[in-house]
């Protein structure tokens, strides 16, 4: 029982990341009808927003202190980050909370990037075949990841979660399962965060006029345009929103997985599988499939399961995708007529 709960928990944070990326992908399919292979790169960009934010606020002031000597007899270099010099304890706290705070930096960056990408590139591919869309966004993904590699190097750059959530939560005790069920706080935070973002996006689409128009546009774009609504502009904003969601997912994921330039590609392949399993064009399906596959993956990496079917942890997601696609042609909750040409 303990082991099962633990595996479910383990799957939740990864599932959260899958769900957030898949949500953005589905929004893009549903609204613009574009297959965006660069979406994983947006996730990676978000992660590197967190990295650059951290670099930015930890810029250091270097003072040569003549009173103290190093072992070599030269003046000791005292390095203090500027934020600490200027803000004192608040600055220290800022540094400590750099990952969650980087979201504030990520959102505008990703919004601007998303809008530029949509207006500059994706717009011209609305009426092109899906193969062309896949290819041009694939090219863009390569370009983005190579630029990141050029500036940040090929090695993963670890980020730390705030001290307050550094340890592990003894979840077992809360729900009466004994203290073997422990779970890192940050992953719990990540799960909560992804849940909030997902609910936020759904609420936005469900309860605002803007969201209503967008949903109507997803159903029948032509009709909405005929009603005199500039649906294209709204779709651009939705693309920006998808970019923001992917970016935030990436930024918050940095303490769990040190970001490197190809993390986007790794997640992209999986997220596409998630989207397809969930059903093309279904937001609920994308989220459900994200969590489902995350949890399944963590179950498959249990030693007990691996000893029965060796290697299952490596292929479980793809295997599930194959089975679902062959038995349920539209995935778990796919709508009729989406991407079936």
């Amino acid at each position: 029982m303990d082991a099962i709960v633990l595996q479910i928990l383990n799957g939740l944070d990864k599932g959260g990341a899958y769900a957030l990326i898949a949500l953005g992908l589905t929004l893009t399919f549903g609204t613009l009808g574009v297959v965006n292979f660069a979406h994983g790169a947006l996730f990676m960009l978000g992660a590197f927003c967190a990295v650059s934010f951290n670099k930015l606020i930890s810029l250091e002031q270097v003072i040569l202190d003549a009173t103290q000597k190093t072992a070599w007899g030269t003046a000791l270099e005292v390095r203090t980050p500027y934020v600490e010099v200027w803000l004192g304890d608040v600055g220290t706290a800022l540094l400590n909370y750099s990952v969650p705070l980087s979201i504030l930096f990520t959102i505008p960056v990703m919004l601007i990037f998303g809008v530029i990408m949509e207006r500059g590139l994706i717009k011209h591919f609305y009426n092109r075949p899906h193969a062309d869309q896949i290819l041009v966004t694939f090219g863009l993904a390569i370009v983005l990841q190579e630029i990141i590699k050029h500036y940040f190097g090929a090695n993963p750059i670890p980020q730390v979660a705030p001290d307050i959530v550094a340890g592990s939560a003894n979840i077992g005790l809360w729900i009466g399962l004994g203290d073997s069920v422990v779970y890192p706080w940050w992953r719990l935070v990540y799960f909560a965060f992804s849940a909030i973002v997902i609910f936020g996006v759904f609420a936005f689409l469900q309860f605002t006029t803007f969201g209503m128009v967008v949903r109507a546009g997803m159903r029948d774009r032509e009709m909405v345009s005929l009603l005199g609504i500039n649906i294209e502009r709204r779709f651009t904003i939705i693309f920006g929103l998808a970019a923001i969601v992917a970016g935030m997912a990436g930024a918050m994921y940095t303490p769990i997985l040190p970001p490197d330039y190809h993390m986007g590609m790794d997640f992209l392949v999986l997220s596409f599988v998630v989207v397809v399993v969930g059903g093309m064009g279904s937001l609920g399906g994308a989220v459900a499939a994200g969590f489902l596959l995350g949890v399944l993956q963590s179950f498959a990496s249990m030693n007990e399961i691996k000893s029965i079917i060796p290697g299952i942890d490596q292929i479980i997601i793809y295997l599930v995708a194959v089975v679902i696609l062959l038995t349920l042609p539209r995935g778990l909750m796919g709508r009729k007529g989406v991407m079936e040409d």
């Binding site: 297959v35 896949i134 290819l135 090219g139 190579e146 392949v269 599988v273 292929i315 793809y318 042609p329």
Partner: protein, 393 residues
Amino acid sequence: MFGTSSRADWLLLIAFSAFVLAAPVILKPFGAAYPDLLQKFAIYGIFAIGFNILFGLTGYLSFGHAAFLGVGSYASVWMFKLFTMNVIPAVLFSIVIAGLFALMIGFVSLRRSGIYFSILTLAFAQMSYNLAYSVLTPITNGETGLQVRQLVPADRAADYVFVLRDEDLRWVDQALGVVEEGIPITNLFGMKMSGYPGFYFCAVLLIICFFIAMRISRSNFGMVLKAIKSNQNRLSYTGVNTRPYLLTAFVISGMYAGLAGALLAVTDPLAGAERMQWTASGEVVLMTILGGAGTLLGPVLGAGIIKYFENIFSSINDTVLENVFSFLPTTLQDMSVAVTGMFVGEGWHLTLGLMFMIIVIFLPGGLMQGLTHLLGSFKRKFSNTAASTDSPG
């Protein structure tokens, strides 16, 4: 199955063969005339031609073709390890194995079309890749990669049946009493398959592959494939069951990939799982698109261009750049080196990505389409002037 080829096709084939066979001379001015690179041109040309039979003719975008390449490589290296360093059995065995593999994957994947098909092939390729790294290590030798080793002494051969060790069996070679010195080199009945002989072996196979692809494209079978691309529904309504045609195309194209994988192993007897990664699948898609999907020459052209630029660009380093820009003032020189340095050497993939985007944005039909347009406009211009001079009012 094969229709008759027109005279233009024969001319094309002859011109193509002449170009390929004379490549060491023709490509000399471009600095590409050394065997390793020429072999790569031919091998990836075969890979791209095969991919084009599926993607170019039927429009089914497979994102997992590298899996067949990888399987072909492994199959060949195992033939080298177990039986003989002669390349013929290895090549044949690889084609058969890759074909069977493609039959299995195609049978399942072709139940869906469009992006679902792409995802299914991607899923299978990723599964093969992941398994090759983990559970299948006894067959694939994991991250180290499968290599050809020295011959095991005859007295200890009995302990070794089908097990991955530091020494190889090569039963046939042993039975024939072939003497090996050091790490063995692949051969074709005694002719060593490295350097130019290796290239010519690949080149001859490339020409044969090109010929087969041409005949397929001109045959009734090819017509059905093209019909699938233009409108599969209508074809189904007229009572044609498209699945067997698609599956045949998929298997043929898988066999091409297997052959390419085998040739990679022939020219360098080493097989690693990274050949099966999905970026490798993306590369062959790029080659085909760049040259022009659905055209005969396009894929070979695309493969050649990409492998050429990969070779040229990734070999340029900062020192070379500094020499190139040495005529500029120091600050400008540093800036130019910094900017261009992003695109060469390690950053060659950036150039690749940009090239990819530019081609898809501006030239969706690939280079061949561009050439055809160019030739067409020349012709039109020429015939216009001819017409205006011929007809006096």
